[in-house]
Symmetry: C2
Subunit: 592 residues, 2 copies
């Protein structure tokens, strides 16, 4: 029932007006001219709209099924996955040495938005594979890379990440899965893993599991954990598939959403595995892909909300209900369209101004990852490390809220499954949880990232804001609508950071009690910065008489909405933070 | 998987410490001594915890089914409904002339919280019946009352409300269902109604539909609509059931939640109906029950969230994950319970401080309804009319958010349907939509209720706050923690009202663009007032050395949390309101 159109115009604006990617001095970036990226996004958008979006409801409705140990994906998923493979969409930003197209990550991310928005559950099969590819690419031996990467780049084989166990989620130090070294250098892996997305399915020949497990001598903490490659089918020397490994699907979880993705309980019963990276350094290997993986989840948060928003706009334009308070807008009809009503607009503008800001932040994040990798830019690396928990936590929380708002536009019809709006809400809910629940993101931000490198990255972020304000302070309209709200929001963020520094010394709970609010405060400031930059870029384009005037004026109006109506949240978060630990920690555990 | 315990201690606090009901000079109130209400709540709580709660997941999982035009409810619903009937729980606050127990509404509402919290979908069958009972009781002829009410009080017959049609939701003026007058004084009703909760099922002998329809001569607007009684089975003169009426179930909707309730498309094909109340005055008849119905939905919002909260607390106490930053709390175990972590407490305190404030507001609302009815108190009637959209809109929005937070405590486990946390989120979502979507509540508040009676009710509300502050200003601790935050929040609300008065004259969109924020701003101030009163009541009890000291101290600490951490939202809502209509209305409809 829902439809999806690729927001290519807006993506092009972010890539070229905001980030000016083809002008950046980064390997591969100079090829990214507007015509080139548009062609890519057009083709990806066509696949998303015409193939993946129509399967979204099918996937939700049918779900995956487990029969005799074999997982079947919903009708149409297999054929669509073939189309994705054949179109080369799985290989976009992969290493050409292993069959990839070698494009920058920012392009992979942009295409990923289109796929995730149109069908999140489906796109996860490829997304997980890309994560596993990255881990093997970064930490694998030459032999491992040669064995696994070409097939994973093409998604002939897909990948998974196996972290969680029934009793060990965030606290991986408690995991019990064991790895016993064998004489031939391999390990026998035994244990149970849960919540394994894309854990098994019928769309690829093989599934390459990356499994965290404890090998002897590593001790009890997370520091002693190692990472292993455990293929579903063992791979022969010649690359052909050999025996079935001792790994099986214990159960398929019945979930709130993303029904089209197979979330498995995986049982490892002495399965053959090979160490990936260094022994007892598995967590470090995991963390090197963390920024990318978490950015990818932040992207899911706003991507699904974008799809929900598009359908809400269509409904608000078409559904006739009530009359505009300022006079009939549709006098010939029985009523005016919903979109005439101020509160419907308030709802839609909340969504639109968030979504476009979120896209800018996610694409900027991808650019920073490219810069860190391609130019070995330490400043960019530090900055994206700081921003990662914000992107993951803030964009998924707000993305979910945004999808709920989109559903609300439909009134009672939004609650009926057939309409598809409920699915957006149910699907986007998981993004707040997996890849580190958002409370853990907040803890990472305040407990680790703020103080990292002696606080240099956060100082650099504040300097960036100052510079932005300074660069445009001669522009009176920009000053009133953008620079002053940004300055005020940024002051709130600084005050919060200061509070943590002063109070956190005395009582770590004082900082941690405010961590979640700090993540949201930071998110608003980051989006405020994005909107200020986008406003400046739009004004520049207007001044130069480039392109579609209406597009740039709409961009400015949307930005003004964000600054006027969303940014005031920073003061609230600051007030909550500054109330300290006492209200939060006051009760004994048995008084809740 | 989830459990539910009746929060009787807290209810008793609200009834007796806060509202002091047995001391109120209202008919029937002086019997409501603490021992008496406790006995009632204990018995209702037992039914809720032991019978209804275990059926909650069953109802969600099985849902209702439609076979050959007959709706079947989930396993166990019928027997539970019998228990509810036999226990007299459907008759609690009904008129003794028709078999009711004649208790005040506040007691009916308190019991209703227990039932809705434990099984919202199930309780709706009785709730809808109560609504239809109230309409017939208020507007029916003596003959109609004698025919229908005794059976509806006992829920041998259940009731429904038929408003919405496929093309007409909020805008009831567009409805097409026709009523043709017959010679015998009855009407033939023809048309289609959708989203009819409890529209048909197998738990009662008859279903009494109240149907809005257009009879000749009423014109096209909502003013010409009439309300009809349309029974599923016609009732013979002797009260026995006669022929099947021409009303049938067209479809059973597949919904996001409340699967245990049968949401029907109802087809009326010349069904026999009888006018209820005056011809062409159907909307007025509907509106007389509106305060009660909307208060009931506001109650659902926080009641389901209360159940979710209880399960989140249990999980947070039992789940071992990570270590407290201030030193191991459970050194003998492999990890500390989640509840040691500040961010988990922040999450739980957000829920707890909202829920207890919400309960106070809802119970106060029920008391005001009693006062309006039993003492014909116009001031109370005006005040509850003003508060009704706030109670409905704010408590359901925040109740949903609260359920989402409870789900978050479970991490990945919260996303698995078997755990039951997803159901709380999915069920509570509907409360934001039905009985007037929350945007419509905001419109009602700002567009109608604020200016009602020349603004007297809102002025009276502000006076109430002033008086509360004045009454306790000698108490330094109360002043700092409660009175000052309340004063500040109340100022924000006044400033918002002032803004609407000044700007709304020039541009109605300026007021309507801020209506939703005003509803939330008002909600926070109302809960701030409740918390201030509860804090004063708790201090009084402590000073008098009454009861459980720990309970009252916990109450004070929870109130301090609300004032410090939730009330700062008022400034954000004010800022959003004061940014006016421009950001909201800036875009042409085709630029979204």
């Amino acid at each position: 029932m829902t439809t999806y159109a690729a927001p290519i115009r807006d993506m092009q604006f972010v890539l070229h007006d905001l980030l000016e990617i083809s002008k950046q001095d980064l390997s591969g970036y100079n090829e990214l001219e507007p015509e080139f990226t548009e062609a890519i996004l057009d083709a990806a958008g066509k696949l998303a709209s015409e193939v993946l979006a129509p399967l979204n409801r099918v996937g939700d409705h049918e779900g995956c099924t487990l029969e005799n140990g074999v997982v079947r994906t919903p009708t149409g998923f297999r054929a669509a996955f073939d189309q994705m493979r054949e179109g080369g969409w799985t290989a976009l930003d992969c290493d050409p040495d292993y069959g990839g197209q070698g494009m920058p990550y920012v392009i992979g991310l942009a295409a990923g938005e289109l796929f995730s928005a149109s069908n999140m559950a489906f796109t996860m099969y490829q997304g997980l594979t890309h994560g596993a590819y990255s881990a093997i690419h970064a930490h694998g031996s030459d032999e491992q890379k040669a064995t696994y990467l070409p097939k994973m780049v093409s998604c002939e084989w897909t990948g998974t990440m196996n972290l969680t166990e029934p009793h060990a989620g965030t606290d991986l130090g408690m995991l019990r899965t064991k790895a016993e070294p064998q004489d031939d250098g391999s390990y026998l892996i035994s244990g149970q893993k849960i919540f394994i997305s894309a854990g098994d399915h019928d769309m690829s020949e093989n599934v390459i599991h990356l499994v965290l497990a404890k090998a002897p001598g590593g001790g009890e903490s997370t520091k002693g954990i190692s990472l292993f490659i455990v293929p579903k089918f063992l791979v022969n020397e010649d690359g052909s598939l050999g025996a079935r490994n001792a790994v099986s699907v214990g159960n398929l979880e019945e979930k709130m959403g993303i029904h089209g993705n197979s979330t498995c309980v995986m049982n490892y019963d002495g399965a053959k595995g090979w160490l990936l990276g260094d022994l007892h350094k598995g967590m470090r290997a995991m963390f090197t892909m963390m920024n990318e993986a978490r950015l990818g989840v932040g992207l899911q948060g706003y991507a699904v909300a974008e799809a929900a928003y598009q359908n809400a706009v269509t409904y608000a334009r078409e559904r006739l209900q009530g009359r505009a308070v300022t006079g009939d807008a549709n006098p010939a009809g029985p009523a005016d369209p919903l979109i005439v009503h101020p509160d419907i607009r308030r709802n839609l503008m909340d969504q639109k101004s968030f979504l476009e800001g979120a896209r800018a932040l996610a694409f900027w994040g991808a650019y920073l990852i490219d810069r860190a990798r391609l130019a070995e830019d330490k400043t960019a690396d530090d900055l994206i490390s700081l921003l990662t928990p914000v992107i993951k936590g803030f964009l998924t929380d707000k993305g979910f809220d945004s999808a709920v708002q989109a559903q609300q536009v439909f009134g009672g019809h939004g609650y009926i499954e057939e309409q598809g709006m409920s699915q957006f809400v149910r699907d986007s809910r998981i993004a707040m949880i997996y890849e580190g629940a958002n409370g853990v993101q907040a803890l990472d931000l305040v407990g680790r990232k703020l103080a990292a490198e002696g606080g240099k990255p956060i100082m650099a972020f504040f300097e960036m804001i100052k510079a932005e304000i300074k660069a445009h302070e001669g522009d009176a309209a920009l000053k009133a609508d953008f620079l002053e709200p940004l300055k005020s929001a940024s002051k709130d963020l600084q005050a919060a950071g200061m509070y943590f520094m002063q109070q956190g010394m005395k009582d770590p709970n004082a900082a941690l009690s405010g961590s979640y609010d700090f993540m949201h405060l930071f998110g608003h400031v980051a989006l405020g910065l994005m909107w200020t930059r986008m406003a400046a870029a739009a004004k520049k384009a207007l001044a130069e008489g480039r392109g579609d005037r209406q597009f740039y004026e709409t961009k400015l109006a949307t930005g003004r909405y964000y600054m006027a109506r969303q940014l005031p949240a920073t003061a609230m978060h600051l007030a909550r933070i500054q109330s300290g630990a006492d209200p939060v920690m006051a009760l004994d555990a048995d008084r809740f």
